[in-house]
């Protein structure tokens, strides 16, 4: 739901694609992409945790590349393609990464989850079979206070469909037992 602005100004339109759809907004060019997504496009799955590019909750894919949307001015998203968490599922079916986060305890309070999953998507796109260190590095810019990262790393590992070593499978079974 839009909140009324006290002053109505006319800003040049910025056009870009969001989750596959053409969108156009009339906003100040320096408005943060984060705020454009949340306020103008009502995509509240993108979260603000710090506003300083540290926590990664605002992460989106901009032309396929992971960025902190709190640090991108709207004008620089012009003509680009943005993917937010809302764009992950297709026709109501959860994406693989979402399914793994759900099944394997990768989400607790959920506030870091949208950004974290997009960071995972970006990682797996560039490196389809990352080892544990590479997973940790790929997620290093997304802070989670709830999980201690373990279940998230597990979810990403499963999402990468890396064949499991026997002892890894046993470990998962032990936890899930």
């Amino acid at each position: 739901m839009r909140v009324m602005s006290a002053a109505k100004m006319h800003w040049p339109e910025i056009r870009f694609k969001v989750n596959g759809s053409e969108r156009s907004v009339s906003v100040p060019p320096m408005k943060r992409l984060l705020d454009v997504l949340r306020e103008d496009l009502e995509l509240t799955g993108v979260k603000e945790g710090c506003g300083e590019g540290e926590c990664g909750s605002c992460s989106v894919l901009l032309d396929g590349v992971l960025v902190n949307s709190c640090l991108v001015p709207a004008l620089q998203a012009s003509g680009c393609e943005v993917l937010t968490v809302e764009g992950l599922a297709t026709n109501g079916a959860l994406a693989h990464i979402q399914q793994k986060f759900l099944e394997l305890g990768g989400t607790q309070c959920g506030i870091c989850t949208p950004g974290m999953m997009l960071a995972a998507e970006s990682l797996l796109k560039n490196n389809p079979k990352p080892d544990l260190d590479e997973i940790r590095e790929g997620l290093a810019g997304n802070l989670c206070r709830c999980t201690g990262y373990m279940r998230i790393i597990d979810a990403v590992r499963h999402a990468s469909q890396k064949p499991l070593l026997a002892e890894e499978q046993a470990e998962i079974d032990a936890v899930r037992r």
Partner: protein, 758 residues
Amino acid sequence: MRDTTQTHIVGTPALRKEGIGKVTGGARYIDDMALPGMWHGATVRSNIARGIIKDIRFGAGIAWDEFVIVTAKDIPGENCIPLIVDHDQPVLVESRVNHPEEPVVLLAHPDKARLHEAVAAVEINYEPLPAVFTIEESERQKTIVWGEDNVIKRFLVEKGDVDSAWQRAAHIVTGEYHTGAQEQLYIENNGVIADWSEADGLTIRGSMQCPYYIHKALLRVFDLPAEKVRVIQAETGGAFGGKEDYPSMIAAHAGLLSKKAGRPVKIIYDREEDLAATTKRHPSRTRYRTAVDGNGRLLAMDIQVDLDGGAYATVTPTVLSRATIHAAGPYCCENIRIRSHAWATNLPPHGAFRGFGSPQTIFGIERHMDQIAKAAGISPEEVRRRNFLAPGKTTATGQEIRDVIDLPGMLDRALKVSDYEAKHLRFARENATSSPIKRGIGVASFMHGAGFTGSGERYLNSLVGLEADATGHVTVLVSSTEFGQGTNTMLSQVAAEALGLSCEDISVAQPDTQRVPNSGPTVASRTTMIVGRLVQDAAHALADILRGKNLLGEIFSVTEFRAACAAYTECFGALRAEARYQAPKDIFWDDVAYKGEAYPAFAWAIYVAEVAVDTRTYSTQVVNFYALQEVGRVINPLLATGQIEGGVAQGIGYALYEKVVWKNGRMSNNQMTNYIMPTAVDVPNIEVYFEEMPCEHGPCGAKGLGELPHDGPAPAILNAIQNATGINFTSIPLLPEDMYLRMAETPEPDAKETAGCV
């Protein structure tokens, strides 16, 4: 007591109830919501630690007539947030400021972008007064900032005869330990939307742990009857105690603005404000003086516990209580004295954070046990083994251990899974070479009481409801909130188990004070054991209601249950059962003498930390972590594992990374770039092991485990660092700069170093 092997849902990794919304981005947190006509609010705060307001000026260049402005004069009821000590913390400063960032003026405007400039344009002039900023300054009592003597609360616990033990001692070991403030750092900042209407009263939606705490506070602030205040929890992005009491303050602020503006008002803190203005973990100083016999057995413990409470009492008395009760550790000792004080300072009031006083004193006792081991010439694991509590022995408050707990066995298992002995030998060998990396391994053993202390649960008098509709779908009605720890899923599993249903047949109602009864606050590791048990009881009561109308047999199938619900609702209307807390008959607590059964149940744990200390950069990496705990019955192993891992990560931050830098009472590193929490490349692999000894108090035998994992990591890590370097570090957070200072003073580890310093 039901045989644990027979549960079908309890004990399984059922999917998180609200998980789909969380992975799709559909979950609605408070800043995702707006109400029609809503304005935004902001807070003007004090920038001195202590003083008297002379005047408030509204600067030029702002169209003030566009703003709604609220001060203390606008408060219809009482200007206080009552918690434990009444008439202590004000909603807004009237004239006396007692800490930096104290709220003075509130502003609201339709355009959020206009607020920051307006806040900056409010000029407050003060007559400053002397302030105190540390325990040491406060206890000098030269400047009195609270009450008669700066003491917010004191406790004295006495068991046996401490004073005569010293002469029998083979060793007298003393030590002093310090812990710093710690920020909860939930990734979702605090926020509230208030909606005032003359007809309906005040409705609050927000990020919170305790809707009924907010409800109770607002009745007083707005002088309203109970039915005119409604508090609804929104999806909450982490809390850890940091949203236990402060949301009442924000709700009061937003409510005042909404009342004056005649429209809804949203207040969302940004990270800088949330860090600087809201509660932190209490800093502590603990002093141990222990008499030990020739075999390393504890003869007497004389313990002093001192906490920094900040400027107002808020939850401090209870934090001190828990710190006090946990200060003697999971050990047998006939003679114990604990003298504890919570001191007022001119810092923003400290508050609840996972552990709630026990991480502070468990740090002290677990560091101290390693010094006792050294003095007695035995290993850290052996000194613990020789002193562990066991069935029949008593705690510091005289509570007899009835759990059939086997701490020596748990210790053995923890040492085995961590490969402790082999690593210990290997590290000693490797550390003797010239490599700059020194490795160490350390242990901490501890317990954590579940539920409120003593008569606390009786006072809370929790009530839980369960409804079933015509289709047999069951709704759990509790004020217990979900904020990631698994409340919704755990309660669904308990209810499903009790009624033979599946999790999909159960919903947990959104905590809304208009709808749900008061099952108490979501704190104190009580939700599974206390509230879960009540949900189980209410489920049985619901089945009994149906049986009472001959609609259900002793044993029933899902189909029969659904048919019974359909029949009942058709004939008799709403189908609802309730369960009210009943204090266990054999729990006795003396609140005055501070003796007796402090908690109905304890969880027990042995944690092992493996570290690598880089003596070039003085930085410590936790390389492996092993967390073994006995928690009664694990309701959901996936969620429980996640709780332990998350708590351990916070404990690692507490030990090595998270420092609040105070400047004149204000947190000066109030940005995420400067308040350092561990990232995915800082947290090691954490191995979690559960042992289960069903407890009679919880549902299916469960106890509490939410806070337990934050108690052990810090002392285990510092014990490991002592193993690696030979140096007894007694203060956390232990930053590389601190390690450098110490090592630059004494470059060679002192192998003969006996118990610490006073």
